[in-house]
Assembly symmetry: C4
Homo-oligomer: 238 residues x 4
């Protein structure tokens, strides 16, 4: 385990602060009820991750209460029990080395699509920008073994979307950073709501594949800042 | 009546602060309009309860304004009139000795199911986790006698769900603590909304009973913290 | 005009503060977009009223910016132009001497019923409590003469409901005090939303008339406080 | 480029503060998710505009981070990259000299109508007031050339509505000032939601053309303040 005086430890402390703050974004954007969502981050260059403690309210969450575990979910310190979704997060980090952050919520509109096992069609430009395709559905999987993690990895590997709707469960999103994964969770709920509303009063047609590809390429490579003004991982190089 | 200098009285003061703070959670999670929801708590080891005063706004609510009554709703002090739902709360405490807290709201999605007298099917994992079954409907009952309390007790006795949708009225939730009952009220509205949205665009199937049982057992026994990091009554031993 | 040093003027100042604060309740409960709602109050014992200035944002509203007019809408001071709905408010105060406050919004669910000219059925206990009947529809009326005011008065005179849905326009609510009228506006939107949601997935039946009458009588006469703990005009003697 | 000590520069600084504050209104009224909306302002009397930097969160936005560009989108300073929608904003300012502010969002209800390429009928008085007609649909257009700008200009030139729903994309709104354009964006979402809700349970009829014209004329010419109490460009002379 890392000594508290190494620079590596300072990096973990900074990551704790960021992941703690990102949980507040889940509340702010209406993605969670009570304690029902979590954010994790891979500690760069290690086989470790930080994740929400199980059942702790967002008000009570502090950087220190986040749990440091290895990528099999074993805590690296005494203290709080990690999220019951820790196994799924670890599976994804082990299988997808470019993933630096993962978010899971039961956000209402995305979970409604998941309850029907129905993908969200790519029918407006905002979905093409962020997801580059329809938002896909993963299998129904029970908690407590590798089923959920394998379902996420099988669905998202080689897919442009950073979000998967796990059947009769809810969305998981990934990103190169935890902030990018939170953004994907916010945009997934926004997409789920907009297309839900649109379809309540008529048909919606997916955009043509060539338009989806062009919009996605532009958004991932041109949108955002190349300077210190914003997180360069957000919205491109994803 | 207890003297203000006994330690028992200190316990009541702490409970007053907690129940007052829990009313703000009803506002925060969008469960109430104006003054239309209330939280009560059994005073542990006594035949007394604390409950919201009738018609007082959540802004004006303070720990001191909560009303201490016996379990037939008789105030134990001069001052404010207790909630018009006090009789129903007291009936439940008398009949269900493991109940330590009760919440009643007219939260919009849950009340919409109640208006149709339709139970909420257990079609996503979050409902299995918290409720262990569909969320059941209780009878229509008029206020002012034991009808509402009896309808709650008859519906929830021996049922895994901590929530009942009273027909053409709204949800009541119970828990071992008032905080657990508030959590159940938040999750009940979340369940009602998610399945409402899901069914607007197609069929949803309940989860298989063996999956519901396994998810509920795990959530009630594994989820959450066994230490001081969170309320151990929340999400297990319920 | 009243001199600033009379006690009557102190009463007007207190009323200005209350009406200003009540506008924030319209924002808090989601009843308004931008500047699209207003509250007025009769100055007790006079032929005067206070009303929102036209087109002023809720952030910029202060007690002093509220406009004092007679009951025909003529400002009693130099300064801001009163709400374009002032004529309707004044008509109601002239015709209904027990009305002490009026609220108008375009709150989304209530306005949706108004857009279809459809009354909201009294299908849950909360609607019986506050409205004592279905929430009725008033005629379509153009702004700028007495049409709107007359439509409100004709619909609500002798009707238990403090709310009317003006066709293809939106709700107006009345009360013995401006606070009671704001409460009715909040509860009207809540009723409109709950029954909208309920009907999206099936039929809802109105409560039997004898139950509606009993619930309304109890709520208007028993609910709330008879002491200084809350506004006695709220929820009874209405 | 302007020297920081000229009075013109003070005017630009004031405009930066205003445009920065107006972005918070997009958040407050629920029009945006993450970074998905932008406000721009023409610098009066120049060929310049201020616009949101690309991909910057609303929390991180400061007056200084707004980007000053010419009306072809070329930045006039080193620093942040302007919004990817800058080309569309500039096209509109070049073609419509009375436009002083432009807003683009993906607000959920308005974007739902846009996803179906369906105009919002003018069926309640609030839509007649602000828009003077149905809210029209513009063509589907790819980002990155003049297509979007031309679609906005072709649809809104000579049309009373300050809002256009760009097909499978979302709403753009214009105004004589950036504040008027933000108001139009708020009212567009409100209109989209109200008529969506109304049509979910029945038919809605547009208001008669003569009533729409009368309401629009009155609102644009009588509503609001003629004094310092409010922005005179809001709600009239638009």
């Amino acid at each position: 385990m890392t000594s508290p005086t190494t620079s590596n430890d300072a990096e973990v402390q900074a990551l704790r602060r960021e992941v703690c703050a990102l949980h507040q974004e889940l509340v702010r954007w209406g993605l969670v009820a009570w304690t029902s969502g979590n954010v994790s981050a891979r500690v760069p260059g290690t086989q470790l991750m930080l994740i929400k403690p199980s059942g702790v309210s967002y008000d009570a969450l502090t950087p220190e209460t986040l749990v440091l575990t290895d990528l099999h979910g074993t805590p690296q310190q005494d203290g709080a029990t990690p999220s019951s979704d820790t196994g799924a997060h670890g599976y994804v980090y082990r299988a997808m080395p470019d993933v630096g952050g993962i978010v899971h919520t039961h956000s209402p509109y995305a979970t409604a699509w998941a309850a029907r096992s129905e993908p969200i069609p790519c029918a407006v430009t905002a979905i093409a920008d962020e997801f580059g395709a329809e938002i896909p559905v993963g299998p129904f999987a029970m908690i407590g073994n590798d089923e959920i993690g394998r379902g996420i990895v099988d669905t998202l590997s080689g897919h442009p979307s950073p979000a998967v709707l796990m059947a009769q469960h809810g969305p998981f999103t990934i990103g190169p950073t935890p902030r990018a994964a939170v953004k994907a969770a916010v945009m997934c709920e926004d997409a789920a709501r907009t297309i839900h509303l649109a379809r309540q009063q008529g048909q919606v047609e997916p955009l043509p594949p060539e338009h989806i590809a062009a919009l996605h390429h532009r958004y991932q490579n041109v949108y955002g800042q190349r300077t210190e003004h914003s997180d360069p991982t957000e919205g491109r190089n994803q």
